[in-house]
Symmetry: C3
Subunit: 318 residues, 3 copies
């Protein structure tokens, strides 16, 4: 196979496409850079001029107001010019190919593309076809990857738990369809987390999981025992009344995170969720809003992590 398209011949990060393939030292340097941006976002004037005069294109082939907003804020706080493109409703419907759309935007002297697409591999395809001075960030492609989500998750874990070694982390829910889970597992194992567990009903588990070095549980009480971190996944609405699950109520009974189920985890365990939450489906409100929840800090750290990734990538072209 080819060299990882994310890393150039000098070992520098030039795109962020998936956590898989990014070495530990680059992950750590992103986390370190993000830490410095947390303080920027707490200032009275939340702006630094690192991307001044750069053009960042939010290229969303699949709508996602929340994710688009996080990247738009991050880019604006770096002083970039941001152009939002909901491509689903425009050129694509005029019969233009994905690569022609991207070639055109590149010719406008884009510096960075933030790409969300319903098809796995779209961001990689774009990254393989842009000029060397253009950087691509995958903001979620099909069921493949969502690397900035995984980065903000590990940033959050590091913030609360300091060290990755010795941790027990459980990921709970629809592992099968989750690009978030895939990216998280790669990040956690790369950083040396001792035990990564996944907890899900059989119908929501992919077949190849053991190769990724994770332990598989079907039962919450067993899977959550003594963990330091619980990462809940969102249950997509379209799964709830489908063939894979009997009902949302049944799912909540078995896999919804309640105070009772959480009680078997370490007393200082933190609870995470990528949002948006389905309260009463995958998580009980008393847990979502409880002492152990770090769901809102995740959002705050998400801005800092995206600022870090953007500034590291744009720094390569200078």
């Amino acid at each position: 196979m080819n060299r990882d398209p994310q890393i150039d011949s000098n070992g520098k990060l030039v795109h962020l496409l998936s956590i898989e393939g990014i070495p530990r030292d680059i992950l750590i340097s992103i986390l370190d850079t993000a830490r410095s941006f947390v303080s920027v976002t707490e200032r009275e004037i939340k702006k630094v001029p690192l991307l001044r005069g750069k053009s960042v294109f939010n290229l969303f082939f699949e709508p996602s107001t929340r994710t688009r907003t996080t990247f738009e804020i991050a880019a604006k706080r770096l002083s970039a010019d941001v152009i939002n493109l909901n491509v689903g409703s425009s050129s694509q419907s005029k019969g233009e190919t994905l690569l022609d759309t991207v070639a055109n935007l590149s010719a406008m002297h884009a510096d960075m593309f933030v790409v969300r697409h319903s098809q796995s591999g779209a961001a990689n395809l774009i990254a393989s076809n842009v000029a060397p001075n253009i950087h691509v960030i995958n903001a979620g492609d099909g069921s493949h990857a969502h690397p900035t989500q995984a980065l903000l998750d590990i940033f959050t874990i590091r913030h609360y738990k300091k060290e990755f070694a010795g941790l027990r982390v459980a990921i709970v829910g629809d592992i099968l369809h989750s690009r978030v889970a895939r990216s998280q597992i790669h990040a956690l194992t790369t950083l040396g987390v001792s035990e990564v567990r996944v907890i899900a009903p059989a119908t929501l588990l992919p077949s190849h999981l053991s190769q990724l070095g994770v332990q598989v549980f079907r039962n919450m009480t067993e899977g959550l025992r003594d963990v330091d971190v619980v990462i809940m996944l969102r249950l997509q609405n379209e799964r709830m009344n489908g063939d894979l699950l009997p009902s949302a109520q049944e799912y909540f009974k078995n896999y919804g995170l309640t105070p009772e189920k959480l009680a078997v985890a370490d007393p200082d365990a933190i609870v995470m969720h990528p949002g948006p939450m389905n309260r009463g489906v995958e998580i009980d409100s008393s847990v979502a809003d409880g002492r152990q929840s770090v769901i809102l800090p995740q959002v705050t750290f998400g801005i800092a992590v995206r600022m870090a990734v953007m500034s590291i990538l744009a720094g390569q072209s200078q």
Copy 2:
């Protein structure tokens, strides 16, 4: 009842939710501040750095390009970073609650939410749930309030008539469904306008009007006699063919503002309208474009008033 959530314990304005509850001296200070911004918007470089590095979220749960645009321009001329969110089409449809959406955006270090919502009380609900350093501006909620519209109306009246005492002001049209009318009546009575009149057919009049200290008229010739200010309301399209009115033509005949009906008002009376106008329904074109119309100056003053509100609110958090 609780203290007004718009005013903090030091008597400072921290949110703008409705005109009701705002004391006269704060209304006057908003008008005075707005006057200074009128000159900013007439400069060659229409920008001041008062909100530099602040993040203003236009949070529109109900679409309104015109209102969103006025806030976007006002915020950009104050050098803020502006994020437009049409929430109807995103998180809400993913089953997330209003308060979870707002909590998430707050965690991104928002400084200000400009909220438009189809349900009365939405902006108040948000204001009661945000951190103390976040400010909420109601840009129209259901049939409850639209306070910046009322502020620009009283700014316009003060600009042309100098003093509020001694004025006769008539509000004409669909009082029943108008959040604008409610806000205007509160503003005018707080500022000491001598006579506030409402003119409407019986089906478009709410029942509790006399408590607000206004005089009710069903007839234009009687209601407009000797007034100094005529405020026309927009007739929503959905009222025109409904149960409340026989037809748009009939409405125009009885309540549409024509030169003939306007002739009974004071010869220097000004004519106002919040826009967008239905020409030939609530107002005749010769009046809309005539000597007494101040409809376009209202729009200009609206930008200055919104800049004033934003800068006063953001000033509290410094």
Copy 3:
């Protein structure tokens, strides 16, 4: 008839509505100014402060993400505040007239309107009704004109061919419905191009073409012989299965630009296309991506040309 509304009494350009009526020296000064902006867009910090504090409204009554994006980037690189308005979905549907919408936005102290509309003449109508310090750029109106496209085309031709005199230029495709073709023909003849040819099936040719000083061809081999420039037009999807053309396949066979057809042109002929391309309909991929294609440079020059037009127009109001 009246004086051209684009040119003021001192001979300065105040609006850009169509190429028709713009004298040669103004066209040349736009091209010269654009050349200086090409270097700006290649800098590390792609921003100049020429429009700082100006408010540019992208007023799109017809959706076009691509065209809107080019104007948005151009304005942001000039440091303007940009407001995007998709008017189709808002005020217009509330019954407000086009001129009331524009009057309202003007009252917000707009400096420039970039207008896209499905009806020919919309930009002219707006230009005739705005205050003298507001400038209008036509970004495409019905089948009338698309002047910035024509300007970037002549910029591209000048870049590669240096002189206009002595050139043979062929425009190929749906001349009948193309606002681009009309604008191109006016630009090329004004600049003294020796031979302007159009090549199209009879059903896609307007009747009055000979008056414009162009030669008409129905056959590609005859029309392309020895030309220096080939400008392909996009075939709108709605033409393909309609009454005017038998099928897309048939069209490609007769009028699609293939290497074989291109072989009769001058060996150094350049190939242009306004985008988005229908590969395999009006142009073969091997030509679109081939040695003679300057389709992507057109896009790059398009940003510089729009920056030039905006800065020339805004310069008039100072």
